[in-house]
C-alpha cells in the first residue's frame, strides 16, 4: 500500500469524525510519511509500520470518545410535589367570578343570534308568497327580500365562525384549567 492508498483508506475509516478532525489527522499521518521518506524508507514500508488504516482509525475514534467518568449521568428527574393550592383556588374563583359568567354571556349572545337568524329566515319565507300580490309595491318587496337574504347569509357566516372559535376557545380554556389545577403556576 502506498501513501495515497493508506491515507484514503484512513479517511474513509474515520467516516464519522468531523471534517476538521479528519483533515488534521490526515495531516499528522502525512507528516509521518514525510519524515519516514526523508529517513530513507519507502512508502510501503511506512504503511506497514503504521499498522492498518482501520485499526489506526479505530484508535483515533476511541481516543476522541470521552472516558466514561466524564460523561455526565443524566440527572434523575426530581419528583417534587409542588404546592398547587394557590393555583386551585385561583382556578375556582376565576371561573366563578369571571370565566363562567363570561362564557354564559357569550353562549346567550350566540343563542340570541341563532334565534334572530331563525326569525329573519321565517320573515323571508312568509314574505316571498306575499310579494307577488303586492301590485305597485312589488319592486320594494323584491328589494326587501333580497336585503333579508343578504342579511341571512352574513349572519350565517358570522355564526359559523363565532361558534367555531367559541368551541375551540372553550376546549383550550378547559385544558389550561386542568394544567393549572394539576401542576400549579
Amino acid at each position: 500500500m502506498n501513501r495515497q492508498e493508506y491515507l484514503s483508506e484512513l479517511e474513509s475509516s474515520l467516516g464519522s469524525m468531523s471534517y476538521k478532525d479528519v483533515k488534521e489527522i490526515l495531516g499528522e499521518i502525512s507528516g509521518y510519511f514525510d519524515e519516514g521518506i526523508e529517513a530513507g524508507k519507502t512508502e510501503e514500508e511506512l504503511a506497514v509500520k503504521l499498522g492498518t488504516p482501520e485499526s489506526l482509525a479505530k484508535a483515533y475514534i476511541e481516543g476522541t470518545a470521552l472516558p466514561p467518568a466524564l460523561i455526565k449521568k443524566a440527572e434523575p428527574k426530581k419528583e417534587e410535589k409542588k404546592d398547587t393550592t394557590g393555583a386551585a383556588l385561583f382556578v375556582i374563583f376565576f371561573n366563578l367570578l369571571i370565566a363562567i359568567p363570561l362564557w354564559l354571556t357569550i353562549l346567550c349572545v350566540i343563542f340570541g343570534v341563532v334565534l334572530a337568524e331563525a326569525g329573519i329566515i321565517a320573515g323571508l319565507v312568509t314574505l316571498i308568497p306575499v310579494i307577488s300580490g303586492m301590485g305597485n309595491f312589488i319592486l320594494p318587496g323584491i328589494f326587501l327580500a333580497l336585503t333579508l337574504l343578504f342579511v341571512i347569509i352574513l349572519v350565517a357566516v358570522v355564526l359559523y365562525f363565532g361558534i367555531k372559535y367559541f368551541s375551540i376557545g372553550t376546549k383550550s380554556y378547559i385544558k389550561w384549567n386542568k394544567k393549572l389545577w394539576n401542576e400549579g403556576f
Partner: protein
C-alpha cells in the same frame, strides 16, 4: 505481547518521552517502537488525545527540508499526570512482580 497491557501504560510512556523535551510524531513513534513492539501509528491517536485533554500543547516548527513539523510540548497538567501515573505504576508493577515471583 498482550495489547491490553500496552494500552494502559502508553499514555504514560508518551508523556515520559515528552518530558525529556519537545518532540514530533515520528520521533515519538520511533522512540517507543524501538523499545516496545507496536505499530508506529499507535502514538498518533495518543498524542491527539493528550492534546485534547490539555496534557500537551502543539506548535509548528519549520524543518530543514520538507514541510513544518508539528511539535508536542508537555504542559504542567501533563507533567502532574505523568508523576501520578509513575507512582501508581511503581506500586502496581512491584506488586505484580511480587505476585508472579520476578525480581524487584
Amino acid at each position: 505481547m498482550n495489547s491490553q497491557y500496552k494500552k494502559g501504560v502508553l499514555d504514560m510512556c508518551v508523556l515520559a518521552i515528552l518530558e525529556k523535551g519537545d518532540s514530533y510524531g515520528y520521533d515519538v513513534a520511533d522512540a517507543l517502537s524501538g523499545k516496545i513492539d507496536l505499530a508506529d501509528g499507535t502514538v498518533y491517536p495518543i498524542l491527539r488525545k493528550l492534546a485534547t485533554d490539555g496534557s500537551v500543547t502543539t506548535y509548528l516548527q519549520e524543518s530543514q527540508n520538507g514541510p513544518p513539523r508539528k511539535y508536542y510540548h508537555l504542559t504542567p497538567i501533563g507533567k502532574n499526570r505523568l508523576n501520578m501515573d509513575r507512582e501508581e505504576w511503581k506500586v502496581f508493577s512491584e506488586a505484580v512482580d511480587d505476585i508472579i515471583g520476578g525480581t524487584v
